[in-house]
Amino acid sequence: MSGSNGAGPLIAVEDLVVRYAVARGLLATISRKPQHFVHAVEGVSFTVSRGELVALVGESGCGKTTTAQAILRLVEPVSGRIAFDGGDITALHSRALRPLRRRMQLIYQDPYESLDPRLSVRAAVEEPLLIHRLGGSRTERRERVREALSRVELSPPELFLERYPHELSGGQRQRVAIAASIVLGPDLLVADEPVSMLDVSVRAGVLNLLDRLREDGLGILMITHDLSTAARFADRIAVMYLGRIVEEGPAQSVVRDPQHPYTKALLSVVPRRDPRKRSRPEILSGEAPDAVRIPSGCRFHPRCPITIADCREIDPALEPAGAGTGHKAACIRV
C-alpha cells in the first residue's frame, strides 16, 4: 500500500453507500417485479484519527453496523471511498487486503460467542499471529501473547494463559477478545457494542481499557446505541438515522448542545442516574421506517416535531451547526 504517511486521518470514509437486495421469490423474479433494496447506508462520510475514539450512535437499523462492516471490507459498498492511512482500499481485492487486515481489527459484542470454547486463552491470543505468520519463533510469539494479556490487564498473564473461556467471567472474556485483536499491533479497532452484553459493574473497566488503548495511539470506532457511554468515552459522536449521519461533532458539543431534532429527542429520552434529574422526555411516536422505503426530502421529516413543508422536498446536507468547532448537522431548520 502506498501513501502511508501517518499524518492524515487513519480512516476516511467518503460518501459511502451500501445497499442489500431484498430477496425476491422465483415468481417475482420471472415476472420481473422490480428489485427492492435495503438502503442501509446512504452517503456517509467521516474520519477516525490516531488516538481518537469516534462513536457511531443510533437505533437498530440505522446503518451503524453496516458502516463498520464496510470499513473492514466485510460488505461491499455500492459507491463511495474508504481510505485507510491515506491509501484507497475501496476496491482492493482480498489478497491485497490481507496485510491491512492485521492493522484493522474488530471487537465483537458477545464475548461468549466470539471466543472458541475449545481454545485456551494462550491459543486464542496466539491464533492471529499464526494466521498472519507473525511473531517469529515460538518463544517470541509467547512473549507477544503475554504482552497482549498484560495490556488488557489480565495480569499476571500466567494466571490466565491455560484457562478456557468457560472459566472466565464476561469481562475477562471480552478482555481476552481484545487481547487477540491487539496482539497483531493494529492501528484501528472497530468495536461493535463492546460492553452491551456485560454487567454494569465490569463495563466501565472494559471501556477504560479501550480509553487507554486510544491514549496509546490507536484509532477506535465504537458502534453503540448507548448515548451515556458515548458521552463519557468518545472524542467525537456521529448520530445516524436511516443510513445517514444526521449530526456529528465533538462528544460534549453534541451531547450538551444538540442541533438536530432527532439528536435532541434521543438525548431527552436517555434515563439518568439521579432521580432528581428525571428527563422530560420528548418521545417520538412510532419507530424508524424500514430502510426499503426511505421518505422523500429529509428522511426524518415524518417523525420530526419541527418539520415544515420544505422538509418533504429538501434532502439536507451535513453542514456546520452550533457553537462547537467541527460540529455539523443535517437539518434545514438549524
Partner: protein, 323 residues
C-alpha cells in the same frame, strides 16, 4: 401493615448434581401497595429473576421454594401450584424481556388475547373480541391490527402486545422482567411511558426487575438492590442515589455512565461469590472498598435504618456508634 403484595423470607434452592445445592435466593422480603412502583435491581446471577419466578410459581421442578407470598393478606405460596394458579395472571401478571417468546408465532395477536380471556372465563366470542380491541388500544396498538401476526409487529409493538395480554384479566400487580432491555432507547421511552400511565391511571402496582439503574431511577418510587441472592439495600430511589447506605449501591451507581455526569465510571473489581458454596461474612466484602475486620467474619442482616430504608452492611452500625 397489610399490603397488596407482601413477600417475606423468600428462599429458592436449585438441586445440582452430586447432592449439591445452589442457594439462589436467600431470604428476600418486600411489599407493594396499589399503584406503587418497586424496582428490583441487580446484576446477572443476583437472583432477581429467580425471585419473581419463585413468587409466581414459575420455577422448574428442580427448584425448592420457601417463605411466604401474601396477596391481600392471604398466603398464596403455602399450597404450591394449587394456591398460586387461581392468582397467576388474574392478580399477578408478568411481562418478560423477549416479547417474541411470550407470543405464539402462528396465531394472530388478537386471537391469543381472546384465548386468554375465554380461558379465564372473562368474556366469550364477540365480547372477548371487543375487550381485546380495548386492551390493545389501551397499550397504544390500533384496534385495526388485531388480526396481525407477531412477526408483523416491531419489537416495541410486540412488547406492547405482551403487556396487553398480561392486562387481560385486570391484574392488580404487574411484574415486568427487563421489559425494555432488548429495545432501542426511543422505544424504551415509549414502553416506560406506557407502564407509568398504567400505574397512574389504573392503580396497577409494578414490580420492575432490571439491571438498569437509570431505568429504575426514571420509573420507580422505591428500589431494592440485590446482590448474591439477597436484598442488600432498600429505599426510595432518590435516597439510594444521594445517600446510599450500602457500598454496593454506591459503587453500582458510580459504575453507571451518565449522559451529563462528571468523572469517569469505575468498575467494581472482583466477582460475586458462588452461591453453591456456603457463605461466611458479608457476600460483598471481597469487592468492597470499605470492608473492615468484622465483614469477613459475620454476615450483616438487612435491618431498618429509618422508616422505609434498610441496608445489610456493618458500616451502618459503626456510624450509629460514632453518632
Amino acid at each position: 401493615m397489610s399490603g397488596l403484595l407482601e413477600v417475606e423470607g423468600l428462599q429458592v434452592w436449585f438441586d445440582l448434581d452430586r447432592g449439591r445445592e445452589l442457594h439462589a435466593v436467600q431470604g428476600v422480603s418486600f411489599s407493594l401497595e396499589p399503584g406503587e412502583r418497586l424496582g428490583l435491581v441487580g446484576e446477572s446471577g443476583c437472583g432477581k429473576t429467580t425471585t419473581v419466578l419463585g413468587l409466581l410459581g414459575l420455577l422448574p421442578p428442580s427448584a425448592s421454594v420457601a417463605g411466604s407470598v401474601r396477596l391481600n393478606g392471604v398466603d398464596i405460596l403455602a399450597g404450591g401450584e394449587q394456591t398460586i394458579r387461581p392468582h397467576r395472571w388474574v392478580d399477578l401478571a408478568i411481562v418478560f424481556q423477549g416479547a417474541m417468546n411470550a407470543l405464539n408465532p402462528v396465531k394472530t395477536v388478537g386471537s391469543q388475547i381472546v384465548e386468554a380471556l375465554e380461558l379465564h372465563g372473562l368474556a366469550r366470542g364477540r365480547d372477548a373480541r371487543l375487550r381485546t380491541g380495548e386492551l390493545l388500544e389501551s397499550v397504544g396498538i390500533p384496534e385495526a391490527r388485531v388480526d396481525r401476526f407477531p412477526h408483523e409487529f416491531s419489537g416495541g409493538m410486540r412488547q406492547r402486545a405482551a403487556i396487553a395480554m398480561a392486562l387481560a384479566c385486570n391484574p392488580s400487580v404487574l411484574v415486568a422482567d427487563e421489559p425494555t432491555t432488548a429495545l432501542d432507547v426511543m422505544v424504551q421511552a415509549q414502553i416506560l411511558e406506557l407502564l407509568d400511565s398504567l400505574c397512574r391511571d389504573f392503580g396497577l402496582a409494578l414490580l420492575l426487575v432490571t439491571h438498569d439503574l437509570p431505568v429504575v431511577a426514571e420509573l420507580c418510587d422505591r428500589a431494592a438492590v440485590m446482590y448474591a441472592g439477597e436484598i442488600v439495600e432498600h429505599g426510595p430511589v432518590d435516597a439510594l442515589y444521594h445517600e446510599p447506605r450500602h457500598p454496593y449501591t454506591r459503587l453500582l451507581f458510580a459504575a453507571t455512565p451518565d449522559l451529563y455526569g462528571e468523572g469517569v465510571p469505575a468498575s467494581i473489581p472482583g466477582a460475586p461469590p458462588r452461591l453453591d458454596l456456603p457463605l461466611t461474612g458479608c457476600p460483598f466484602h471481597t469487592r468492597c472498598d470499605r470492608a473492615f475486620a468484622r465483614c469477613p467474619q459475620e454476615r450483616p442482616l438487612l435491618r431498618e435504618l429509618e422508616r422505609g430504608r434498610s441496608a445489610a452492611c456493618h458500616l451502618n452500625d459503626v456510624v450509629a456508634e460514632v453518632v
